[in-house]
């Protein structure tokens, strides 16, 4: 935060800071950070609200609340990820940060892990935004490949075009829409209100949900005129704005009311920042800032009310008395800013939005204006509903209202304090919007080239925009005054199909599909598994062999010692195949392994021989251990003789193909073997004379690391299976008598 403030003057003057940290040279990945006007605005919002939320959380939770660490960790991680997201100039880095915010959001929504509802909400949020993120990754890759660079600023400066890019844009937009809770993906955001209020304040109103809007804002100047862009962005944004606003009018839970309000406002932001007109973007930036200020405050107020009164139902609340005056003032100022009442910052935003679409908009201007006004009318109505609901008595107004709560203790001053800077900014910027000129201007200049000077004013004279604002306010209050019949009518209206229906349907379909697929693939028949594996081993290299030239038979033997060993191995193998006892088979298999070990030793590979010996010894012991669980003899096969013949045929073929493959592969060498280089480099670079070991732990240490990880996972799996099964058996035995 301090760093961002320190950088602010330079950035406002038009400078940009760039840092490049090379992450992985081989993959061409690097972390490129770039601080320009828009990024600065976002960083200030993220850091500023982050600090206030942390202070607020100090009072919201008592120190003895269990699991606070589990809350604080992801919260800080989220703050970092969000800052990284808005700073990164590289699309892939941006994506990584994007997903980090998704994951931390999941952890934070599901923080109340004892509640099934909050777990379901967390799952829903991560599935929806995760799926969107996947679509976005596809879009990013397509876009980056088409542009030849993943650098965001370069792509925007010189945007590629074509069918591929159109597809890429749609994919990226899907990602942005899921993140910013746009129709039809908006349902996860109200669900996410299961999180504690400080989390909702930070993630689900002020910052994370703005990530999608942010990306849209970045791309809009370049792609505003692309064929797919404007229709898609404007339709989705306007629909979201209106539907969210209407839904908010039905809510009795103050927090849900705000959540739907946020959905509506995000739709508004998508329209403004996504339209791709300079004036609209300017309005969008103002609304973005204003929204962060008032919505975070309102959420904190809800948290205070919830904390003191233990309910958020506006029918039951009637908070009054001297102790509540500060809260009322803060809430009223913020809600009025949300509604767009003059002399508050929200008014400046709304006014410039109307102004923008009165001038630009091609064929869209009429529709956009009408829908924006409609959405804003709803906003006025639910803002009023919020304030009246919380602080004025609504007794007798609603049917089936819960018991009113009385004598709610007012909050301590320190609890309310974090809301004060935000509310103060809302008021100050509302009276003197010129103070934000520099910041908004710099943000605008980072999107559009040209004259970045912005002059925000409260009073533009009597014009159409002012008339629209007045109309909006009047209609909004009428709608609020008629809140009981409106809510009743909305309650009777048939439920609109929401994205949630689709989400639940696809979740069920996925489960059913997975069930069926497992049924088909995992039959539980060992012969079929073995046949599939062997057939794959037969066909894939076998087909490759067909075209390869035959290098001729290699030298078959090096002497009598070798012959003796091979005889031992072959005899062992035949006995294993013929014997009827499992135990004998395991032991005889040991001779095959020891034979191989001797062969290695004879050829001068002591390391291999040692390892082979040790492995054989251990595996015989382990075999014996497991064999005790199985019948002494193999089950006599009752398969028909044709099946037996097929099995024999497959086995022989596998043997032949593997042998042929080895001979061909050995003869097909065209480059000098890599091992000769290793031998020369072992002592000077690896510092060891044992080349095999140097390869294992130095040259190819990453492989070894992977292998021991696999070993560990296998061991843990075995432990879990065996011990878990044992526990289940014991439980059964205990419950039976």
């Amino acid at each position: 935060m301090a760093w961002a403030v320190a950088q602010a003057p330079d950035v406002v003057d038009g400078a940009t800071r760039s840092v490049e940290l090379v992450w992985s040279n081989g993959l061409g990945l690097s972390i490129e950070l770039r601080l320009d006007g828009l990024a600065l605005l976002m960083v200030l919002i993220v850091a500023g609200i982050g600090v206030l939320v942390c202070l607020y959380a100090l009072r919201y939770f008592s120190a003895s609340t269990p699991g606070l660490g589990r809350l604080a960790g992801p919260l800080v991680l989220f703050g970092g990820a969000m800052t990284g997201l808005v700073l990164s100039d590289q699309l892939l880095t941006l994506f990584v940060f994007w997903e980090l915010t998704t994951v931390t959001s999941y952890l934070l929504i599901g923080w109340t892990d004892g509640s099934a509802r909050s777990r379901a909400a967390a799952l829903q949020a991560i599935l929806v935004t995760g799926a969107g993120g996947l679509a976005m990754l596809g879009g990013i890759v397509l876009l980056g490949e088409a542009a030849g660079t993943y650098r965001l600023s370069a792509i925007v400066a010189d945007p590629p075009s074509g069918t591929t890019v159109s597809v890429a844009l749609v994919l990226v937009l899907i990602g942005a829409f899921t993140k910013s809770a746009q129709t039809p993906f908006s349902f996860w955001l109200p669900g996410a209100m299961a999180a504690p209020t400080p989390i909702s304040t930070f993630l689900h109103s002020a910052t994370m949900v703005k990530a999608g809007v942010y990306l849209v804002a970045r791309l809009a100047p370049a792609y505003g005129d692309a064929a797919v862009w404007r229709p898609l962005v404007l339709t989705v944004g306007l629909l979201t704005m209106v539907i969210g606003g209407v839904r908010a009018l039905r809510q009795f839970d103050l927090k849900l009311l705000l959540a739907y309000g946020t959905v509506s406002q995000l739709g508004f932001l998508t329209v403004l920042l996504g339209a791709g007109y300079e004036a609209a973007s300017k309005a969008g930036i103002v609304v973005l800032l204003a929204h962060a200020l008032f919505k975070a405050t309102l959420f904190m107020v809800v948290g205070i009310i919830d904390h003191q009164a233990h309910t958020r139902d506006l029918r039951a609340l009637h908070l009054g008395g001297p102790g509540w005056r500060g809260t009322l003032a803060v809430a009223a100022a913020s809600a009025a800013s949300m509604a767009g009442i003059p002399l508050l910052f929200g008014f400046v935003g709304k006014e410039s939005a109307y102004e923008a679409f009165l001038h630009d908009g091609d064929g869209w201007a009429g529709v956009v204006l009408a829908a924006t006004v409609l959405g804003s009318v709803c906003t006025v109505a639910y803002a009023a509903r919020f304030v009246w609901g919380a602080f004025r008595s609504e007794t007798g107004r609603w049917d089936d209202a819960p018991e009113p709560v009385v004598d709610v203790p007012p909050p301590r001053m320190s609890f309310l304090a974090p809301t004060l800077p935000l509310a103060a900014l809302t008021v100050v910027l509302g009276v003197l919007p010129g103070l934000a000129d520099g910041l908004v201007g710099a943000a605008l200049a980072s999107l559009y080239t040209g004259d970045p000077s912005v002059h925000l004013k409260v009073w533009h004279g009597f014009n159409t925009a002012l008339t629209l604002s007045a109309l909006t306010l009047a209609a909004g209050f009428v709608l609020f005054a008629a809140r009981v019949p409106v809510a009743r009518a909305l309650g009777r209206a048939p439920a609109l199909p929401t994205g949630e229906t689709g989400y639940l349907w696809s979740l069920r379909a996925l489960n059913r599909g997975a069930d069926r697929l497992t049924g088909v693939v995992q039959t539980g028949s060992l012969p079929i598994y073995a046949a599939v594996i062997l057939a794959t081993a037969l066909l894939v290299p076998g087909i490759a062999l067909l075209g390869a030239p035959w290098p001729g038979w290699p030298e078959l033997t090096h002497g009598p010692v070798e012959l003796a060993i091979v005889t031992l191995i072959v005899t062992g193998a035949v006995v294993v195949a013929r014997t009827g006892r499992r135990f004998a088979a395991a032991l005889t298999l040991g001779t095959v392994g020891y034979g191989m070990a001797i062969l290695f030793a004879v050829y001068g590979a002591p390391d291999l021989a040692l390892t082979q010996f040790a492995i054989e010894t251990l595996s015989v012991v382990l075999f014996v251990m497991v064999l005790r669980f199985l019948p002494e003899r193999f089950v006599r096969s009752r398969a028909p003789s044709t099946a037996k013949a097929v099995r024999l045929g497959v086995s022989v073929l596998v043997g032949v193909v593997v042998t042929a493959f080895l001979i061909v592969a050995n003869g097909a060498r065209s480059e000098p073997p890599i091992s000769s280089g290793f031998v020369d480099r072992a002592l000077p670079e690896g510092g060891g004379r044992n080349v095999v070991n140097v390869i294992l732990v130095d040259f190819r240490a990453l492989d070894t690391l992977g292998e021991i990880t696999v070993l560990l996972v296998a061991a843990v799996g075995a432990l879990a299976l065996a011990l878990g099964g044992r526990r289940a058996v014991r439980r059964n035995q205990e419950s039976r008598p």
Binding site: L610, V621, L622, L705
Partner: protein, 143 residues
């Protein structure tokens, strides 16, 4: 479980020698045949001998820790050696060597891969112990 005095005594006598051998393999592995993997297998073999002599309880009274301990410690050591060079600005898994004068043994070349190899050794031992603990119990065996 029926125990054989001869097996019991023999195992007790050779056990320390085998463990010592495994350590020799671990330390000598960089220049002589051996290494962490073989060392781990050999010490695993020693554990298996204990198992043959006295079952899972005998193994657990010899290695008085959960199999998870060497597994986790081993992987932590190995990945730690992998990551430390990254922090120092080198490539991942970059090895370092240094000559140290040890009183009795003379000059010894110590390389950071020894730490890595120790990790491998521990993981392999852990796998063997885990298998024994998981599947070695007698009472459920159905003869």
């Amino acid at each position: 479980m029926r125990r054989s005095v001869i097996v019991d005594t023999t195992v007790r006598v050779v056990f320390p020698a085998i463990v010592l051998l495994s350590l020799y393999f671990l330390f000598a592995g960089h220049n002589q045949p051996g290494g962490g993997f073989v060392g781990g297998l050999v010490v695993g073999g020693a554990a298996a001998l204990r198992y043959v002599a006295g079952g899972v309880d005998e193994v657990q009274s010899t290695f008085r820790f959960s199999p998870a301990l060497p597994l986790g410690a081993g992987l932590a050591l190995a990945s730690g050696t992998a990551l430390v060079p990254l922090l120092l600005g080198d490539a991942i898994l970059e090895s370092a060597k240094r000559s140290v004068d040890v009183p009795v043994l003379g000059t010894v070349n110590v390389t950071s891969v020894l730490v890595f190899d120790t990790g491998v050794y521990l993981v392999v031992l852990g796998v063997v112990l885990a298998t024994i603990v998981a599947f070695g119990r007698d009472e459920e065996a159905t003869p």
